[in-house]
Symmetry: C2
Subunit: 366 residues, 2 copies
């Protein structure tokens, strides 16, 4: 499977070149605006100059690591600030694979396409475990796939593209499996602020020497372009992760770290609640339209994607293009996320025009 | 050899904990201040918000790639904007090593310590070629070391730590060697704005399918913390480099890219000339003091480091510590850069207190 971007670009180009207005539900860029403290933080930083413009420590600014650690209930020494969630996952997977503990990486199907792409880059082998139709993961399937050649198990909760939030019990069992086969369980929690169930469980709950948790401020603060994320490593692995971060990137951008730290300190809790509520309303409106259109779909527990399957209209590239040109709605073909969702189309609800898109889909399929 | 940072941190800790005033000549952070357009650019960016805060394209903002390409006389499609010069070198070396064209990386001794560190991280083997006492590199030595197992030759001009600027003829021969053995020649030109000879030659002069040039705005604009650099790849390798950049980091920080683009457009040429002149004056003052102290040294052609060897005082960790505590001057032990400079100490001239340091060294060794 190719990683996401070439497919993504092809779809985006169709949307841009279409001879009509198109609602973009392809990209995962938050549209609701950053909290004011992000801009304030950048303005503050811009006036500092001098020493403040020079290298941050490789693992991140001390104050930012402390702030993250306090929020996550871990020791600050375990936090590595990274160039976004992307580099956090790279570090976690690389650490898993470089231990001579096997070369297999277990991941779900459907999958966030960067995971298989990173696996190939890092010299590992993908092992796919199917999920249920609603996106839930049966730990027994992971147990069956795991063995002495398993270096890494990587999961994403709340999940892109299924919207599933894994239960505490599922995570507990995944941790136990990772410990049993000496794998690192990398849990990507970048959508943790967009949990509609109130039951999201962080893998940090389990305090295991086999768990790496990754996260990012890209979605939380609507700043995907800033590139500030982090990973929380077990004590035994954090030094190796910091070394790899240093040898790859030296350190993570300091203006971004400064702005994020300021935003963590100054942002009203309402900001998080309001963006979550906005997304919940969009889910309601969009899935109601899918009902009218006669589509099958799973209501997301979290994140901001809906997978839909329209009757007699599989999620092929051709059909995705037809939907752009004939209905004016652009989604991602399910094939981008693995074999199991080849019939489906993923719609990202990060546009204020969800209602327009819903109406267009209802008209098109009615 | 370890990469630089642990040694660097140890020396910095001695300097901080010393029971006296110490002039820091360890770190390579420019001290002369960024051009005003850097702050202006960040302020401008901070007010954009919304879409402008979202992902830049993986290879970099289009306008920034165009601006870099125009200055370097290359096609913009060959430019990959990276998380600093660090990631630019990572991409160049990784591309060299992933081609099944051997696993050896030829580098000089003394060497910028990240090169051997990155080589190990990427699964390659270091092959060291000694330089002359003044830092110059005899291409015949590289030719002797090169063979079918050579994947990469990496050099740095102007050079850290020797200050050498390689001649056009040296570079021409290095290009020919790389072509002869199908290696990628990675030329790290991050100090290109600090050439005191007026004879610096970029490896882009040779338009070879085997040349990757890396650079950064960290030193040029005194913004090591922003993390904006770039690599210029040959056509045949640029897509693979962009993929690796995407799979590792997704993209490079957009606030930093925006500020750099603004600074490239708005900065008066005097800024570059003034920082270069400032460094030349510091070189004069510092080497005059080294003469008085009876030290051996090589006058740098470029960059901002001086390697010095004091009579009966080899550049061991113990002596570096003694110099901090007894003379109040902190430098880097030569062992940090390879075996050949074990007797030497590297002083970074990026402090306004070069005169103080010079006087202290003169007193100490007089």
């Amino acid at each position: 499977m190719e990683y996401q971007e070439p497919l993504f670009f092809r779809v985006m180009q169709w949307a841009e070149r279409a001879d009509r207005d198109v609602v973009d539900m392809v990209s995962g860029n938050p549209d609701w605006g950053s909290p004011p403290a992000i801009s304030e933080g950048l303005h503050e930083y811009a006036d500092l100059g001098g020493d403040a413009f020079q290298y941050a420590p490789s693992p991140g600014l001390d104050d930012l690591r402390e702030e993250i650690a306090a929020r996550r209930g871990v020791d600050a020494d375990r936090v590595v600030v990274t160039n976004g969630g992307g580099m956090a996952n790279t570090l976690g997977m690389a650490r898993a694979l470089e231990r001579d503990a096997g070369d297999e990486v277990i991941m779900t199907d459907p999958v966030y396409p960067y995971y298989p792409g990173k696996t190939t880059m890092l010299g590992g082998e993908q092992v796919f475990v199917p999920t249920e139709r609603d996106g839930s993961l049966d730990p027994a399937d992971v147990r069956d796939a795991a063995g002495e050649n398993t270096a890494c198990i990587i999961v994403n909760t709340p999940n892109n593209p299924t919207g599933k939030v894994y239960s505490e019990e599922t995570l507990r069992e995944l941790v136990a499996i990772a410990e049993a086969v000496d794998a690192l369980l990398v849990v990507d929690e970048v959508y943790d602020h967009f949990d509609f169930t109130g039951e999201f469980t962080s893998a940090l709950t389990f305090d295991s020497p086999n768990v790496v948790v990754t996260n990012s401020f890209s979605k939380t603060f609507a700043i995907t372009g800033f590139r500030v994320g982090y990973a929380v490593f077990p004590e035994a692995h954090v030094d190796a992760a910091i070394s790899r971060n240093m040898l790859t990137n030296v350190s993570t951008t300091r203006p971004g770290q400064y702005a994020v730290l300021h935003a963590l300190r100054e942002t009203d809790p309402d900001y998080y609640a309001e963006s979550r509520a906005l997304l919940e309303n969009r889910v309601d409106a969009f899935t109601a339209a899918l009902d009218e259109a006669g589509a099958e779909y799973s209501t997301p527990d979290g994140a901001f994607y809906v997978l839909a399957k329209f009757p007699g209209f599989p999620g092929t590239l051709e059909n995705v293009r037809a939907l752009i040109e004939d209905a004016g709605v652009a989604g991602m073909p399910g094939t981008g996320f693995g074999e199991s969702k080849a019939e489906w189309i993923r719609f990202a609800l990060v546009t204020p025009r969800v209602d327009d898109a819903a109406a267009r889909l209802t008209d098109y399929f009615a």
